[in-house]
Amino acid sequence: MISMAIKIALKELKKYWGNKKIIFSTLLLPGLVIFMVYSILGIISEKQANNAEFSTAYLVDVPDSFEEKVLQTPISVQKAAREESSDIKQRIIDQDKSILVIFDEMFTEQVLMGDEPNVEVYYNSVVSSSVLSYNQVIQLLSDYKDEYCRSFTINQDSNIHDIVKNEDRMGKNISSMLPMLIVTLVFSACMAVSAESYAGEKERKTLVKLLATPIDRKSIVLGKSLSLGILALVSGLSSFIGAIFSLPKLYAFKGKNILEIYQGGHVALIILDIFSLAILLVTIMSLISARSNTVKEATTTLSPFGGVAMLIGMTSIMQSEPAQSILCYLVPIYNNVQALYGILIFDFSGRDYIVMVCINLFYTALFGYILANMLSDEKIMYS
């Protein structure tokens, strides 16, 4: 039995080694893709860490010894009067890249007398510089406590210290998840329909009938891409609708749904974003499908890129604001993620969005043109 099994295994391996495309897509491509994606993510993280921005800390009744400690950090310091607290809090709510640190009145004296005064630190969790500065100040306060054996509490009052508008918080949470979900699910939907589009027809020998007609190859490509794009769009919308109802539950925003935060215009922009992504993906995937002789070969080649799409979608988790450079909007998929992220956190740039849509349509037309020429290539179509 073992010898028979070995014979069968050897035959299967021979079949496998005989197909260069399969070897490339199962052995080389996944490693290559992982290496490239993690390298790029590493570069982005490093760049973000180097360019980390701190807020202005408004200090109320701050002891001089603590102020000195804060001055040694990249946080800029500004002393403020207790009466200004409300205005500063409002600025923090309005995402003014600030934090507010309020020491109890007579803080030093209270400590010396053995009382336990409190320090309140207000920040906005949606603004990354505010979060960064908040964490730094909390660490400094903790060090300050240990260093001088002082006894005081931090944020031990009944106030809410993360002062953020509810919709901003919801937008931030949703924006970190939704782009990844949409990109991944649209990618899967596109793959499901596109891998089959040309390779399947080649396999079933149904494409020749169409190619024997006087129809222009570009019409065939356009017709197929449109139908596949619509299918992928519907699938993407299905994911979006699912997210509308599920993400608020995930983040415990009781009684809220996304449509209470985002206007019709936002939803329309999201739908166009998904469509521009779907039509581009189906065209690229159709190219790979047309080059493949079987659906299996096309699927095997496309699969590793699913991971890439997911990782590109995950970039929104690491961001505090959408990419500012227009060059970022020239990179397909990444530009969709950035545009989606911008819409979801209400930091929408019309210029970047238009660049994203136009460049995706340009790539779609370019790849569609290549695909149309491939349909006239007998080596590819009748190999």
């Binding site: 005989g18 079933r204 020998k205 169409l210 024997a212 006087p214 222009d216 009748y382």
Partner: protein
């Protein structure tokens, strides 16, 4: 002689082999010649049968005539029109049918006929009339709403024929039209080919079945190793022992 509708002049077709194919076929060359500088004419209203073994070059020749493959050299003329520069116009005049060419299993004959009619921009009223006639002639009206995937091989072949006629082509190119069919379906297809000839159509049919040649051919071309080894009228081919003897004599001579 009738009017010449197609002139084939010195067409040559070779295919590049992959390293694997080369190894498998035990060849030193990285190219294989499928059609080797052949020339012939096709006349209006005739049935020309191209006879040859598997791999002789019949299908490649027909695919070149049907505009699906381009010759590496040589020319094909439809009337006075060069195929390489009038490809769209010529596609409107021809029907190409091969058992290698299949229809999508998910659709019915009715749907596919309408779809291909619209691709050829056949006016709707004409398409309806034509469909009625051709479906009746081939007996498709009995199963026109059944999905292709649920039909027998013979039924599928009939639907393929019907669909290849949506634009009323004057030249029909059929590659092994009775391959894989049972005797009844094969008889229907042969009747259909003869009826089309009666209607003044020009037919080019490739086959390796001598009986089919006997039943339909006006002229015969025998191909072996991409070369024409015999060309003549059916009556001439019948002389001196018949077509079968003529074919094997020449085939064996080529192997010696």
């Amino acid at each position: 002689m009738n009017d010449k509708v197609i002139s084939v002049r010195n067409i040559h077709k070779e295919f590049k082999l992959t390293r694997q194919q080369k190894k498998k076929m035990g060849l030193d060359n990285d190219k294989v010649i499928a059609v080797d500088n052949i020339s012939f004419d096709i006349y209006k209203g005739e049935i020309l049968c191209i006879l040859g073994t598997n791999g002789a070059g019949k299908t490649t020749t027909l695919q070149m005539l049907a505009t699906l493959l381009k010759p590496n050299s040589g020319e094909i003329y439809y009337g006075d029109k060069n195929l390489s520069v009038n490809i769209v116009e010529i596609r409107k005049r021809i029907a190409f049918l091969t058992t290698e060419l299949r229809l999508d299993d998910a659709f019915s004959a009715n749907y596919l006929y309408d779809f291909f009619s619209s691709l050829y921009e056949v006016p709707k009223d004409i398409a309806v009339e034509r469909k009625k006639k051709v479906f009746k002639m081939l007996g498709i009206d009995l199963f026109s709403e059944i999905k292709i995937g649920n039909l027998s091989t013979g039924m599928k072949q009939k639907v393929s024929i019907a669909i290849s006629l949506v634009h009323n082509p004057d030249i029909l190119i059929f590659d092994e039209p009775t391959n894989g069919l049972d005797i009844l379906a094969a008889r229907d297809i042969i009747d259909f080919l003869l009826k089309e000839k009666e209607r003044g159509k020009t037919l080019i049919v490739s086959t390796h079945i001598f009986e089919l040649v006997d039943k339909i051919a006006d002229r015969v071309i025998m191909i072996d190793n991409g070369r024409i080894i015999y060309e003549g009228t059916y009556a001439d081919a019948q002389k001196d022992g018949g077509i079968e003897k003529k074919f094997f004599d020449r085939y064996d001579k080529g192997r010696m």
